[in-house]
């Protein structure tokens, strides 16, 4: 078998285009993914144009807030990558060119309208969003992201206004100083202190009628204070009525970066290994060598085993090359190298057996390449569909299809090997072993008509 392997490696070495592709593909993919992941954590880019006068101060209920430096920009830029622009025209140009997914424009009157929310004449503040919905996926992404940002901002403001209202209530209950713009501070007595004063006045009253009347006032003041005390936590609850308690009940989830690397590695494995093995097997027939080889010491099963080993070697080479290219750009836990190697080898064997079955069925290099693409791509797409995004019955069918092909378990194995928070590597490798056995059997059956 080793001589056949050596022969395939010699042929590969003398096929400059295939060899260049085997090297260039993982390197290019690694560099692309590396740049994508290193670009501020993969956040979407949003142009940010602030028309509000930078000198203008924002006061909500008498307290000054830094709307530009503090709340709005800080919140926005924690969620997306902010690209500051100097004009509305520049914002439009960046959106049209696709430099950013959207532009957020804070209009000149934003602060006035925000301040009005805490007044007796509130006006709804509006921010302007410019988008370029040149495809449905991007449109959905922009809608979701902008909606999330606006919801976040509304929640923040609602909390501020609630806090302000709670402050007013507290002032009403306990008393204190209230600052009014352009007017001096005014003293608020408060219900609590009013009650104390009323109690002291009551002790000095002689008239029973006057006392009874004052008792009604004192009782009202107490009831008002008690009820307003209840209102304070209620206001806090209104500010954030629903809190989220997230618990993971199924599925180990690794970091998004790791998942992206695992997908890239699995896709590389898939294309390189399936195409190489399918093409290499079909080539044995196209070179008329199959019958001559298999009548010697190496039988059909030996030939199949050799092609799977060839696939595993190619898998390890290209995937490690890709991970090597990624290493300076993103963090890869090389302390988990044994697991990574095992996952790549198992995934490579799965794809190699799958490629062998395709090569034996197609029997021609071109047909096998076409068939490999036609089968592999839809399976890869199916493997990226998340549960809950389609109906339960459809997802059950998708899961069944995924289980029959090597992409899904290979992705799980590599993701789990790269990050301990990922899926169980052992289970994924066992799944791949079963896939190797099944596709090797199919390939062996298809080889029966290979010589004809």
């Amino acid at each position: 078998m080793r001589w056949l392997l050596l022969k395939d490696l010699q042929i590969l070495r003398r096929s400059p285009l295939v060899l260049a592709l085997l090297i260039a593909y993982p390197v290019a993919l690694g560099v692309l993914i590396g740049f994508a992941l290193s670009g501020d954590g993969g956040k979407e880019r949003v142009a940010f144009f602030n028309e509000v006068d930078p000198e203008e101060q924002f006061a909500l209920g008498g307290e000054e807030e830094g709307i530009d430096r503090g709340i709005a920009r800080g919140e926005l830029c924690s969620r997306v990558e902010c690209v500051d622009v100097d004009s509305r025209e520049e914002a439009i140009e960046k959106v049209e060119d696709g430099d950013v997914i959207a532009a957020l424009i804070l209009p000149e009157d934003l602060l006035d309208k925000l301040e009005s929310l805490a007044s007796l004449n509130p006006q709804q503040p509006t921010v302007e969003v410019l988008v370029n919905e040149d495809d449905p996926v991007k449109a959905d992404l922009v809608d979701d992201r902008i909606q999330a940002l606006v919801t976040e901002a509304n929640l923040l403001l609602s909390q501020r206004i609630s806090d302000q209202a709670a402050g007013y209530l507290d002032l009403l209950i306990e008393g204190g100083t209230f600052a009014l713009p352009l007017i001096d501070d005014i003293e608020i007595l408060g219900l609590a202190r009013s009650g104390v004063i009323l109690d002291s006045i009551r002790a000095e009253l002689r008239s029973p009628q006057a006392r009874a009347a004052l008792d009604r006032v004192i009782a009202f003041a107490e009831e008002a204070r008690d009820n307003l005390d209840f209102a304070l936590p209620l206001l806090g609850a209104i500010a954030e009525p629903i809190a989220v308690d997230k618990q993971t009940v199924s599925g180990g989830t690794s970091e998004l970066d790791t998942f992206a690397i695992a997908i890239a590695a699995t896709a590389t494995l898939m294309f390189v290994t399936v195409l190489l093995v399918a093409g290499s097997l079909a080539l044995e027939r196209e070179e008329n060598a199959y019958a001559r080889i298999t009548r010697g010491l190496v039988g059909p099963s030996g030939l199949l085993a050799e092609k799977i080993v060839l696939g595993v070697i190619a898998s390890l080479a290209v995937t490690l090359l890709m991970l090597g290219v990624l290493t300076p750009i993103v963090s890869i836990e090389w302390s988990r190298a044994p697991l990574i190697l095992a996952a790549i080898a198992a995934g490579g064997a799965g794809f190699a057996a799958f490629g062998a079955a395709i090569g034996c069925a197609a029997r021609e290099v071109r047909a096998s390449s076409l068939l490999a693409f036609m089968v592999s791509l839809p399976v890869a797409f199916l493997s990226l569909i998340s549960s809950g995004t389609v109906s339960g019955a459809v997802f059950d069918v998708i899961e069944l299809v995924r289980a029959l092909f090597p992409f899904d378990p290979a992705l799980d194995a590599i993701e789990g090997a790269l990050d301990e928070a990922g899926p169980a590597v052992g289970l994924a490798i066992l799944h791949l072993v079963a896939i190797v056995a099944a596709y090797a059997l199919l390939a062996r059956l298809a080889l029966r008509r290979f010589a004809s």
Binding site: W3, K7, R14, N288, R295
Partner: protein, 240 residues
């Protein structure tokens, strides 16, 4: 060109009642024959007669549905289309198949075949760069690596020009002269008449004639102007 003698009479291969079907269609029906050491046996017949099937059974590439093949020594097989790796050199091809056949002294076998085929100077050339004739020589050399007692050649001169054909037959006759039994199929009837000590005629998977060219000529009355006409007349008599 010296024609070989009809061998020394020692039996090199015996086939008894060979039958083979593909998808229910009989490709070979109850075919028997023997060939002696150093004999040149030409297998001829119309298209679909079962010539290639017979050689593939003798080579062990396919198993017969019934019947037996007895070969005391090695069998070398040269398929109709060159079974070679075009991106490997001549020497690398020879070395690979020598290893796959389990030869003990691989380098000696490679050197011997390079010398025997006269391809020593082209040993480091990729096979894909060789002419059709030279590719066929490498193809035959691979079949001879294990010093087989019987060499099976399936349409060996197919695609070769007259000069290449002549050189090929010179080489084959030399092998037969050295004691190798050569069984070959051909569509060129003059190659059967000229180089074959014996002819095996197949039609619809059946053996319809086993004898010399003169005997076939005589079988149709001897009045035909040449061997090709005699062969056509023979087949017509058999309903083909």
């Amino acid at each position: 060109m010296a024609l070989s003698q009809a061998g020394d009479g020692a039996r090199a291969i015996e086939a008894r009642s060979l039958s083979k079907s593909f998808d229910g269609r009989a490709a070979l029906r109850d075919v028997s024959f023997t060939a002696g050491r150093g004999e040149l046996l030409a297998v001829i017949g119309p298209n679909g007669a079962g010539k290639t099937t017979l050689l593939s059974l003798l080579a062990g590439v396919r198993a017969p549905d019934s019947g037996e093949i007895t070969v005391p020594g090695e069998v070398g097989w040269v398929p109709q289309q060159a079974a070679l790796y075009r991106r490997l050199t001549v020497a690398e091809n020879l070395r690979l198949f020598a290893r796959l056949e389990g030869l003990k002294d691989v380098e000696a076998a490679v050197a011997r075949m390079l010398e025997q085929t006269g391809l020593g100077e082209r040993r480091n050339d990729q096979v894909g760069t060789l002419s059709g004739g030279n590719q066929q020589r490498v193809n035959i050399a691979i079949g001879l690596l294990s010093r087989p007692a019987v060499l099976l050649l399936d349409e060996p001169s197919s695609g070769l020009d007259p000069r290449q054909r002549e050189r090929l037959w010179e080489f084959v006759l030399g092998l037969a002269g050295a004691g190798t039994t050569v069984i070959y199929t051909t569509h060129h009837l003059y190659e059967a008449e000229r180089y074959g000590n014996r002819l095996l005629v197949l039609a619809d998977g059946e053996r319809v004639f086993d004898g010399s060219a003169d005997e076939l000529h005589a079988a149709v009355g001897g009045g035909e102007r040449d061997f090709e006409a005699a062969f056509v007349a023979f087949l017509r008599e058999w309903g083909h």
